[in-house]
Amino acid sequence: MTRKRRIYDGILNALTYLSSGIAVIILVMVLQFVFVRGWSGVNFDLLSKPYWSGNNTIEFPQFKTGAFDRPDHLGDDIAFSEKLGIGLSDGLDAYKEHQVVVEYLDPESPLHHGVVSTAGVDLGKELGLSEGSNIVNLMLKDTDDKIVNVGAQRKSTAEETVAAMDNISEMRKIYFKTEGGGINGSLKATLYLIGLSLVIALPIGIAAAIYLNEYAKANRVTNAMRSSIELLSGVPSIIFGLMGVSVLFPITQLMGIHTVSIILGALTMAVVLLPLIIRQTEESLKVVPIDLRYASLSLGATQTQTIFKVILPSALPGILTATLLSISRIIGESAALIYTMGTFIADRPRLDQGATTLAVQIWSLMSGEQPNFELSSTISIIILLIVLALNVSVKLISYRINKKWSVS
């Protein structure tokens, strides 16, 4: 080997290292990007919190002011009302809107004992102010018997709000917002969508794979069938979105649903998933040894029995893989769902109404009034973790399949 050759080879090899390095860097940067912005937001509360704040108005039938001492642990930026025993601070919500946030509430504070005055089922129930809430509007009578309104809506600072509280003679009502910005609704909608899509797509997909692998003769019709299914897997998801609103929407209309809905999203996703499920199932059917079929048939089993009792159980790990891959496809999908499920973030998703999945919530947050990078990144982290877990499971399963058939 000449020196020149060696240098030349070295350069070429270094190029491959460099290329792989670039791939690593990209992954690191994407992860860094979402983690830097989103990690602080990741906690279990997020999963159970609604996206929209709860809006409550409470009144105080038996209102008595007290005399409270400012606890030592409160920071300087927190204003404290000695009459009501409440600590307030100025804050900004995810959309950079001013808030008056309840930071501290004395256990004896009269503000614990409110009664809901919002008309509806909760009317008259006990509800107190809680830490973390945002005081939007507080209506009181001051010592001059004048009605005073303070709170975030009136652009009052925490300081001003407390000043008004300490000058109170009679409490009228408080309109406060509970903490929002959660992903509970999207999480539920994602689960509904996964469940419903799989219920529709799995039986059809598996049956189609069985037909193609066990029954279909090698002829032109079968070929056409196969290429049609393969073509389907090359269709971009935005086209599936168009298909959803043109082909499938009339079907949901027959069910009496006149808007975009989770059902429509699930029907659309089912079509998206078909080629994937069929291919994965067929792969796993192919590795089931032909001897197994002969053995079953020669023992007198019918073909139907052979399929359900011998072949399908053997292909189960492959079907499981298909299911997991389908789930990760649903979680990652956005374009098709924007068309079929809308972009309104619903906290209590219903099958016959629009909702967002986690991925579409990101889209919704990014294209809204104020792009919300923080929450988007937090959701991205959650999606990445789920997808990672699914991928690891797929790897474990395929490892087990390989082991199983190479041993037997």
Binding site: A14, N55, G120, G368, E369
Partner: protein, 327 residues
């Protein structure tokens, strides 16, 4: 030996590349996209091409803006190099990220958060006072129209719609919510909601409305004031809402027009302008205006410009004025 060497090599290479990547990435991570980049181009004597941003064709802000600057829709066309944005927020964030950008947004927009600088129009500062006193001329109403009486999903939905309209136009609570979100309203004749509620036909506070969803459609500019009002209404009456706003053009269409039974149908449609002659709002159960708003010409915050005249902005929009030097 050889393998060890190559492993060492790759470790070195990857760490080196990572360091490079991190050092280039850190400034980006420290300065989130929505806040100003401290090392933006020098502000003095901005030069170069003007990037015109506009709204989509269904936008009421666009209509109000074009009307206000004397742009004749039938005679003139917008410069073809303009960027079309999909909503008020999209416009705000895009202009805020472009030193050479110029666009227009609602006065309710949070200028600081979007890195925007509002410009005085014809020498008048865009403030609530100036809009109320009619000094600032680039303004428009936020209008609403509901579905036709009897065309709601249920009687409860119809009553709730009536109640909400009363809430947003008459009650202290509703008007101050709109006011707090930047809408321009007259609070002097407002009455407490408890009084207003009694005057609403068919509305009974004792009824459970929590299963009813109020669907609002239309202008994206009303988003902020409307959301505040809906949330404030939620504090009075338990119910659900669904805001799916796409542009003023859809406000009428989706409650009374051709899309009123489509996938995106709504109960109340909004427009950030007066409804047009071909939009027959008299068919609706209720219609009117709930607040005033100004359209504000904005540039990126480091732009030295602070004033603009009607003629200048008009020339920019039609593409006769294309560079900052000419301004």
């Amino acid at each position: 030996m050889k393998r060890k060497l190559s492993t060492l090599l790759v470790v070195l290479l990857v760490t080196a590349l990572m360091l490079v990547a991190c050092s280039t990435d850190t400034p980006a991570a420290e300065a989130p996209a929505e806040t100003p980049d401290p090392v933006e181009e020098p502000a003095e004597g901005l030069s170069g091409e003007i990037h015109v941003y506009t709204r989509d064709a269904t936008s009421g802000t666009r209509e109000a803006f074009e009307g206000g600057i004397g742009f004749d829709k039938d005679e003139e066309t917008l410069t073809a190099s303009a960027v079309e944005t999909s909503g008020n927020g999209d416009m705000a964030s895009k202009v805020g990220n472009d030193v050479n950008g110029i666009g227009y947004v609602s006065l309710t927009t949070d200028f600081a958060a979007n890195n925007l600088k509002p410009l005085n129009f014809e020498g008048v500062e865009p403030t609530i006072e100036n809009v109320l006193s009619d000094d600032y001329s680039l303004k428009r109403p936020f209008s609403y129209v509901t579905r036709a009486a009897g065309d709601f999903e249920s009687d409860e939905a119809e009553a709730l719609t009536r109640a909400f309209i009363a809430f947003i136009t008459e009650s202290e609570e509703g008007l101050s919510a709109v006011d707090g979100a930047g809408g321009i309203v007259d609070l002097s004749s407002a009455k407490p909601w408890s009084e207003v509620a009694e005057t609403v036909d068919g509305f009974d506070p004792a009824t459970d409305y929590s299963g009813i969803t109020l669907r609002t459609r239309g202008s994206t500019s009303v988003d902020k004031t409307l959301k505040a009002a809906l949330e404030a209404f939620q504090a009075e009456v338990a119910f659900e809402f669904n805001m799916d706003h796409t542009g003023s053009g859809d406000g009428f269409k989706r409650v009374l027009g051709e899309e009123k039974d489509g996938a995106n149908a709504g109960d109340i449609g909004f427009a950030s302008r007066k409804f047009g002659d071909n939009e027959t709002v008299s068919d609706g159960m209720l219609s009117g205006e709930y607040c005033q708003d100004a359209v504000v010409v904005v540039v990126e915050s480091s732009n030295p410009l602070s004033e603009i005249t009607q003629q200048q902005i008009h020339d920019i929009i039609v593409g006769q004025l294309t560079t900052w030097e000419e301004l």
